[in-house]
Symmetry: C2
Subunit: 227 residues, 2 copies
DNA sequence: CCGATGGAAAGTGTCGACAATATAGCCATC
DNA sequence: GATGGCTATATTGTCGACACTTTCCATCGG
């Protein structure tokens, strides 16, 4: 039923490049040469340019006129800033989800949670990341706010994933995060906008602090190694 | 001292098109024909395409593959969604500004406020819009968060302005808005993050409600006219 | 008279070539 | 030996032409 729009060559190249950048195949800081990429992907430079433009609007690469594009550098500061934006946007998403989600959607969210519970109990913690993403996606969709949805799913989430992959943040935090998810769904279920937003913001804050802690630990051990 | 980067033809065309779209010279819903625009602006289609791509990433136009681009349609729902995003992002910006602005920047904000006070007292209410934008810009900059700043100044603000211009929301609300601004600066001055965010969110909520009211009134009078 | 089919016409997607700009390396000069 | 300017090279920016898709309209069949 979904009117599937045609996929152009530029689209495909964009998706490929994005995947490679997010997954770290093309490391952070790499120069993206148009001529090089056009031979590698067997398309014209025009296609590559369009793909790079779109990567730029996702903030995955930075371009300078007459110089070229490079994959964004990953910094601790950048990650913190990203989580600050996430906190604001996803907090609002949770608030709006509590207002706008249908009862069926909420039911589906509960089902997803139960499924996760079974998996976590069964020790399949490797499902955690995908499950976490799925959970957040549903709430974002539930906000029914197009701007919010686009910003998060087309922009921020790929950036967050890039950081997680390349800084090696597969992260445990499984059981606590699960409880936090449960409480958020509870608040949405009760149509308590205030609480839903607050809990989502806390959830993301905890996640950020967890990552900051890890970065600090790594930095510490690196210093010890160097000494 | 600012290393001014070279401005390409695509840049210029982008700026021109954006201005024309935001100011309503190119009305909402208009089809943007690449061939037509390339003759009008005397540049190649490649340049036009790049400009349109960038307009799309600002969400000022929408593109469909093999069909073309049109200026986004303005709807009441869209405006509300925009303000919801603004509330989330600018609320966070105010919180971060309370944390990160320098004392000098805060002093500058106070000076700006006093200047506005003089102008408002003198009845120069036509300065309101520019002053309002300036006020919000400074707080956004004060957040020291690059992502936040880019999202707001490169994306949302142009969209908001587009709505304001084309739906004729030059809006009074001068004196009340001025008081709200004053209280926000006060909170930032006191480094009260919590309060700064709350006041900014309220400020934007009020602004949204004011606009919703106007839209409702217009719709009402339109119905009466038609009857 | 209405719907389907076919084929122009117009528009977008892609390409290779040329122009303009930045970078690197070399030589001359201080 | 270091610095400044110049040339050579490589890369990006821009262009016009061609390929493909969509859209519109006329024609045909029911």
């Amino acid at each position: 039923m979904l009117s599937e729009q045609p996929i152009t060559s530029a689209d495909k190249t964009f998706f490929l490049l994005r995947r490679d950048i997010v997954e770290g195949v093309i490391p952070s800081g790499t120069k993206l040469s148009e001529t090089e990429l056009s031979t590698k992907y067997a398309v014209s430079r025009a296609v590559i340019r369009e793909a790079i433009n779109r990567l730029e609007s996702c903030r995955l690469v930075e371009r300078k006129a007459n110089v070229g594009a490079r994959v964004v550098a990953l910094t601790a500061q950048g990650l913190i800033e990203l989580y600050e934006v996430r906190e604001a946007l996803e907090g609002m998403a949770a608030r709006l989800a509590a207002r706008n989600m249908t009862d069926q959607e909420i039911e589906g969210l509960n089902a997803l949670l139960n499924q996760h519970f079974q998996e976590v109990k069964g020790g399949e913690s490797y499902y955690q990341e995908a499950g976490d993403v799925d959970f957040h996606y549903r709430i974002i969709q539930g906000s029914k706010n197009q701007h919010l949805t686009n910003m998060l799913t087309n922009g921020i989430y790929h950036l967050v994933r890039m950081y997680r992959v390349q800084l090696g943040m597969a992260g445990p935090r499984v059981t606590t995060a699960f409880d936090e998810h449960r409480h958020i769904v509870q608040a949405i279920s009760n149509r308590d906008e205030e609480l839903a937003e607050m809990l989502m913001r806390r959830h993301i804050t905890y996640s950020r602090k967890n990552i900051e802690q890890k970065l600090a630990d790594e930095a510490g051990s690196n210093r010890r190694q160097q000494a």
